[in-house]
Symmetry: C2
Subunit: 206 residues, 2 copies
DNA sequence: CATTGTGAACGGGTTCACAGCA
DNA sequence: TGCTGTGAACCCGTTCACAATG
């Protein structure tokens, strides 16, 4: 059915829709129209309908979308019917905070490993994790089959570490380090950089 | 000169360019062509030239762009010639990690205040900050003239807290809470949500 | 009768291609 | 010669508008 390739910009909005639907579901909302959803998210109703129509017909004319049904369809589309294990590389304060962030486990993600190159903390316990030695990283990741890593280390070592991760079988990286990664085609990278978000906003201030 | 309104999508790329240029500058690179920059960032050379041409003529034909000069122009455009003070609301592990993140001070941002509603930690010291009582938030923020806040608290209280911040004079919010904020026009909001970034990538996995 | 799904129209962002210039 | 700056062409994402429908 879905022979055409879906624009990445549409894929990127699906998690936004899913998040909003989960909030509505938590408030026991049963049905929502594209107009209601759009108003809540600041997106046009037409865009929501068009986006969803790329994947199937999930709504009912005159009624709207069943919240729980649309949630399950979006989870299906986004491959969220399994638990995705995560490796965190970098156990500084940010890496630790993320390791203990409760939001992952409620969304089909599970932090499984935490690496850091600092000999002073290798082997020590952080929350429920024992900090692992990066020298064992290749074996650990390859062996576990983990596909997703989060990079929370200084920019200076982010590129080389990302390359090692890719060589170990990682195919998706969420990069918190403030640097552009140069990686082979087929490797998915997303960037989280608060400084860039702030700089984007300061353009409009003053 | 710049009478036309600049598309937000272009503004959002300027911090990316700036970041790359700062890395090049740190490596003592003097000049870079749009092609070199594009290759480094995975962006087309034409796009970089077109984006920059919205703001002026910063390059030299046959040579490229002076790295330090382009950095200073971009900082100018993005209003980074002043220190922007930040308030963090929510002193959980994420808020604490961000409060001590060294990347801000090297980029014209300075965390000035840290709020949390937990009576057990109000008044306690976290790094160089004393956790402040949210009841004093309106006074503190209005008094200091802080314009930017970072929200690092649970989704359940993010909306009401954001509204309070806006009433206190905040006009830009970097929201780490996993929820869409509904705020008046003119308030700038950027979202950081690792779960959504991960879900975006899992679409392409398996 | 309200709302979906969708072709068509629209608009705007990206790429192209080249004149202009150091 | 090499690279910028930029109008024009192109492409793609968004909005429009309405037939279809529970």
């Amino acid at each position: 059915m879905e022979q055409t390739i879906i624009p990445d910009i549409i894929v990127g909005r699906l998690p936004v829709y899913l998040n909003m639907l989960q909030h509505l579901s938590a408030e026991n909302v049963q049905v929502a129209s594209s107009k209601e959803l759009g108003d809540l998210m600041g997106i046009s109703a037409a865009q929501i309908r068009k986006d969803l129509s790329q994947f199937g017909e999930f709504g009912k004319q005159g009624r709207g979308y069943s919240v729980v049904y649309l949630i399950s369809e979006l989870q299906n589309i986004l491959n969220l019917n399994q638990v995705w294990e995560l490796a965190i590389v970098g156990a500084g304060s940010l890496g630790r905070a993320i390791a203990n962030y409760p939001g992952f486990k409620h969304n089909c993600f599970k932090v499984s490993m935490l690496f850091d190159s600092d000999p002073k903390i290798i082997g020590s316990r952080i929350g429920e994790f024992v900090v692992k030695n990066p020298e064992t990283m290749d074996f650990e990741i390859r062996n576990s089959g983990i596909k997703i890593a989060m990079l929370t280390l200084p920019a200076s070592v982010a590129q080389e570490t990302a390359e090692k991760l890719v060589n170990s079988g990682i195919i998706a990286i969420l990069n918190y380090a403030p640097i552009s990664l140069k990686l082979p085609n087929g490797i998915h990278v997303q960037y989280l950089n608060p400084v860039q978000n702030l700089q984007h906003m300061t353009y409009y201030l003053k």
